[in-house]
């Protein structure tokens, strides 16, 4: 074989392999091959799985939001609380309220009408950010309604399916916090951490995460047109008769204390656009849900995490120790229980949904 023949034949074979992969990826639908338990576990702390599958899943309950939603909701707990496993999520990292119209357009185009929409709001969704333009472009690409998925989407579908089929437990195990046993192992030490104390958090004040947030808050300004973006969601809800619940995902008390009251009021005022169409709009302090700074410690729920070090004199937490705005699994369960109870108390649709327990 000559070098030319080698190159051409390799490219033809590669084309065939990629074509087959594309077809297989188009046909692959990861969520349908998962148990409810695995599916719900995959929604948490995963920026890709929910957005990649929510149109296939077409669940009756749809969660929309940003990274706070994929970390702050425990979807298995939500299913238990709402009495249905028919839950899907479009929680995308760096989601802005500006991305809401894209989601609304997609839901309309795909004629997907969830009965309940839970909008996981966070204050930063209204602000301008350094990388906002790039994030919005990324969301637009991810949410663009397509007749056929792109090669990357097809590959991602296929990859997800292969992984889950090869080793079904991997999905459950890829994030230690998804395991009930890990939750049990962590909840005790976290409860014992309370309260972390002002001195400890003062030591954390130089954490890169908090420093970045200080910059964000100092320059925070609600972008123009956000009321209109929120109103798009309202319009969809009125069209389809869905029940809308809006919850502002709490951040750590340490971080929440850094927001000026005026900014908070401005956010609340903007959010009031949704009051007319939502069953509930909640923007409470973390303490109202029983959340403290300890629920933002060890977000990764690392096995064997040394919680005792928080009590050691002179201990300075690192970014790995404390994530100021993303809840750990214990915090997510505490918050989700509260939210699910609140929805269940107000909802007229939920009692009519099928209620298999996860």
């Amino acid at each position: 074989m000559t070098h030319k023949q080698f190159c051409l034949r390799t490219l033809v074979l590669l084309g065939l392999a990629v074509g087959l992969m594309y077809l297989a990826g188009m046909l692959a639908s990861p969520n349908l091959r998962l148990s409810d338990e695995e599916y719900l576990a995959n929604l948490r702390e995963n920026s890709e799985f929910g957005p990649a599958t929510f149109l296939q899943k077409r669940a009756r309950v749809l969660v929309i939001g940003d990274s706070h939603s994929y970390s702050g909701f425990d979807y298995a707990e939500l299913a238990r609380g709402l009495g249905t496993t028919s839950i899907s999520s479009c929680a995308m990292g760096g989601f802005y309220a500006d991305s809401l119209p894209m989601v609304v357009r997609l839901l309309r185009a795909q004629e997907y009408h969830p009965a309940v929409i839970i909008y996981g709001f966070s204050q930063r969704q209204l602000f301008d950010g350094k990388n906002k333009k790039a994030q919005l472009a990324q969301h637009e690409r991810a949410l663009a309604p397509k007749l056929f998925p792109g090669l990357r989407e097809a590959a991602r579908n296929l990859w997800t399916v292969i992984l889950l089929q090869l080793d079904r437990k991997r999905a459950m195990l890829s994030w230690p916090g998804r395991d009930d046993a890990t939750f049990a192992a962590n909840s005790g030490p976290i409860a014992a951490l309370r309260p972390l104390g002002a001195g400890r958090m003062a030591a954390a004040a130089k954490l890169p995460g908090l420093a970045t947030w200080d910059e964000v808050i100092a320059s925070a300004k609600i972008s123009e047109g956000q009321r209109g973006n929120l109103a798009e969601l309202c319009a969809l809800v009125r069209e389809t008769g869905a029940e809308l619940y809006v919850f502002c995902l709490p951040e750590s008390p340490e971080l929440e204390s850094r927001y000026p009251e005026a900014l908070r009021q401005e956010v609340l005022e903007t959010l009031s656009v949704l009051s007319g169409c939502a069953m509930r709009v909640e923007m409470e302090r973390p303490e109202a849900y029983g959340l403290g700074d300890e629920h933002f410690v060890n977000r990764a729920m690392a096995f064997g995490y040394d919680y005792a070090k928080w009590r050691a004199p002179g201990f300075k937490p690192t970014g790995h120790d404390f994530d100021p705005d993303h809840m750990n699994l214990v915090g997510a369960r505490v918050f989700t229980r509260s939210v699910a109870a609140s929805i269940r108390a107000s909802s007229k649709v939920l009692p009519m949904l099928q209620r298999p327990q996860p």
């Binding site: 070098h3 023949q5 390799t10 590669l14 195990l173 690392a302 790995h320």
Partner: protein
């Protein structure tokens, strides 16, 4: 964009077509290098306009210095010292400015370090020294810029030499399409892509989980985690090097080899002749030999080696762990020099075992987030953190002991058994099979190669959606 990005691969193929078409035009000698330069800048641009401006300014300034130095080589030592000093200063600034500000209590400043600056600086310092000392004639502006910013090697090397690579870019040979180059490029690139996205990225979660633990590691999980990292860093970095060398080969440019089965090394000197070869050669030629090398006695040699490896550690990153890693290698290299000086010998298998054990243990410092983490990992490797066995074995009397607990096998490592089984297999591959360089030397076009190459690229594309970035991008 990085070489594992399918989008970049498509752009590279399209650009290759345009490049060779331009090269055949009447003004091809100008158009093709200019197009290559623009394309390289385009590949780098997504890392940020600020970063692009920094590397462009650095390359532009060094171009100027090269032209001046080339005008009367060997006679402008002040200018050479100024040029080299400015580059080293830029490198130190990129590595240490943030830390210095934080130590000074100044917060709110964030320096974005341009990716690949460490590699670019070494390439350019070597170029300045070679031209300044008259070892290499200066080429034109475009050729020199094109060499410095040649996109396959821009982010993580190999650290190419001006004298070896720039003439290839400047010469006519590199602008003529060759099927032989294309098939070699395809073959080598597919090997690299497979190593990176299939092997290294599969092992990454095991290493990451283990090193993220602050307690709870036992003997077995520590070994699984550290071996996973030992393999990950090799397949990651050598994979990148293969991809870079492969892409360069498509354009008719032969970049220097960077890896030659390093885990087959039988002594530490042998290891550094096989691991990150271009960095080793750079340090030898521009630091070790100027410091006296082996010509001024054993003590001077040991001091030079210690100094070289201290710098290698500091070059890799800010933090005591990198310094300790570098110093350990320096000490062992010095120890090896003394051993050889006395004419001592040891069996090959023993040399291999000791070398691998040392390199493996030293990676712990390289990877750990801090010194306590590294020491904890080493303690676990030595059995100091106990042995965790499956809970079902708790009733076996023979297994009871003060260091034994029955908390499950490999606590803290939530990896599928397939990944864990990959570790011994890949160790055997590293020790038993030929390196990419050797494979390329014996490469003959055939159906087996075509199917393997197409399969490797297809798998690479399938896996490339996720996975961590190349490990060496942080340096």
């Amino acid at each position: 964009m990085t070489l594992k990005s399918p989008v970049l691969l498509l752009y590279v193929l399209l650009f290759a077509g345009a490049y060779f078409w331009l090269a055949r035009r009447r003004n091809g000698a100008v158009l093709a290098p200019a197009a290559m330069l623009l394309f390289s800048l385009g590949v780098y641009a997504p890392w940020g306009i600020g970063s692009l401006c920094v590397v462009l300014a650095q390359a532009g300034a060094n171009c100027f210095f090269v032209q001046r130095l080339g005008a009367c080589p060997g006679r402008r030592k002040t200018l050479l010292a100024l040029a080299v000093g400015a580059n080293i200063l830029l490198l130190c600034w990129s590595k240490y400015a943030q830390v210095a500000l934080e130590l000074a209590g100044i917060t709110g400043w964030r320096f974005a370090v341009p990716p690949g600056l460490s590699f670019l600086t070494f390439v350019q310092v070597a170029m300045l020294v070679d031209v300044g000392l008259g070892r290499q004639a200066a080429l034109g502006w475009i050729e020199t810029l094109q060499f410095q910013l040649f996109f396959p090697a821009m982010l993580s090397g190999p650290i190419a030499r001006y004298g070896a690579v720039a003439p290839q870019l400047a010469g006519h040979q590199g602008r003529r399409f060759s099927w032989e180059n294309a098939s070699a490029a395809l073959y080598l690139f597919s090997l690299g892509l497979f190593k990176k996205v299939v092997l290294a990225d599969t092992l990454a979660p095991v290493a990451n989980q283990g090193y993220a633990l602050t307690s709870g590691l036992d003997f077995f999980s520590a070994w699984a985690c550290t071996l996973a990292y030992t393999l990950q860093i090799y397949f990651d970095f050598s994979g990148y090097s293969d991809m870079a060398i492969g892409v360069a080969r498509l354009f008719g440019v032969i970049l220097p080899d960077n890896f030659l089965s390093p885990y087959k090394a039988r002594n530490i000197q042998d290891f550094w002749r096989r691991w990150h070869i271009t960095l080793g050669l750079f340090m030898r030629d521009y630091v070790y030999i100027p410091l006296g090398g082996g010509r001024r006695g054993l003590l001077r040699k040991c001091l030079a080696l210690s100094c070289v490896f201290f710098l290698v550690g500091a070059w890799h990153g800010v933090g005591w762990t990198f310094i300790v890693w570098g110093c350990l290698h320096g000490l062992v290299m010095a120890g090896h020099a003394c051993w050889r000086n006395r004419g001592l010998r040891m069996p090959g298998w023993l040399g291999w075992g000791l070398t691998f054990a040392f390199v493996h243990a030293a990676w712990v410092f390289f990877r750990a987030a801090d010194m306590p983490g590294a020491l904890r990992m080493l303690s676990a490797l030595a059995g100091g953190e106990g042995f965790s066995l499956p809970t079902g074995w708790a009733h076996v009397a023979a297994l009871q002991g003060p260091m034994v607990r029955f908390a499950g096998a490999l606590p803290g490592l939530n990896a599928p058994w397939t990944t864990l089984a990959l570790i011994p297999v890949l160790l055997a591959v590293c020790v038993g099979l030929r390196s990419s360089v050797e494979l390329l030397q014996s490469f003959r076009p055939g159906w087996t190669g075509a199917v393997a190459t197409a399969g490797a690229v297809a798998l690479g594309l399938l896996y490339s959606g996720g996975g961590p970035q190349f490990l060496y991008f942080q340096f």
